[in-house]
Amino acid sequence: MVKNLYIILVLVGLGFMFYTFADGFESADKLNPVAERYAKQGPDEVGAANLVTAVVVTYRGLDTLGEVTILFLSAAIVAFFLKVTYGEEEKRQTRSVSEIMQTAARLLTPAVFLLGIYVFINGHLTPGGGFQGGAIIASGLVLMLLAKPNMKVSHTLIHVVESISGLAFVFIGVLGILYAGGFLDNSLMGMGTLGSLLSAGVIPLIYIFVGLKVGAELSNIVAHLQESQNEA
């Protein structure tokens, strides 16, 4: 009884807070000064047809580096805390995967990987980018694991891809200090014409590395969880 009273009190309090938000809400009819500057100068300064990418990779490039680092840290912590015993050939007992699932996975997995690569290569032209493409690649790995629950994922490949792309991301940023306007400045390469694949300076290059790194990290988390399923 008392517990229910507390729940109702919390709900009423939350409702009151949100009501004051909703009551005083007025939708803005024009952009704030920062957003206006990005929207006006962005196409000339950065050359990316997708303005979100221009903000995420160039104007706020350091934040993206921080996000990738946080993701790396969480993948490392998952790998650290999960108990995995290598070398034991004891197979996990799973329900047999249906024929339809296996055939569909064989057909769809390459297409899912290709979609992920398309999303991060075209990050400066169409919605999406490195993070989204990497997540799509990792869901391709999940599809493979659903079709073959006892499949072994190569950790060497994941670690090599992750390390090289992380290093290359920072290396491009440092090259920006030496040869362009600052860390992660995108005028390192030619701007190209707005809307073509090879435009927006180094944004396509950075997004390829971010996509590979995010895909490797998320795949690492899923693969570690799959391997530790034998343990209690």
Binding site: G128, A135, L145, L146, V222, Q229, E231, A232
Partner: protein, 81 residues
């Protein structure tokens, strides 16, 4: 106008599914309910003109986190015997 009606329907579905996930007897059903909430939320983001966020939500919220929840649930069941 149609978009508003669709958005309201999706919002009600999200609330309903979230409550269903909280009260489901079986944990697997609750996990699937939470995944469905994420999937509907990604449609909502698309209606609100945020395709980038919608892609992230669809891939991570309803794809990866659901499978991670299932792996963790399996581990917890093994630990409890």
């Amino acid at each position: 106008m149609i978009i508003k009606i669709v958005a309201i329907i999706i919002g009600l579905l999200i609330i309903g599914l979230a409550i269903y996930a909280l009260h489901a007897k079986k944990l697997t059903v609750a996990i699937l309910g939470a995944g469905a909430v994420s999937l509907l939320a990604s449609i909502m983001f698309l209606l609100l003109a945020a395709p980038d966020v919608a892609m992230t939500e669809a891939a991570i919220g309803s794809g990866l986190s659901t499978i991670i929840f299932f792996y963790v649930l399996n581990k917890i069941r093994k630990q409890n015997g």
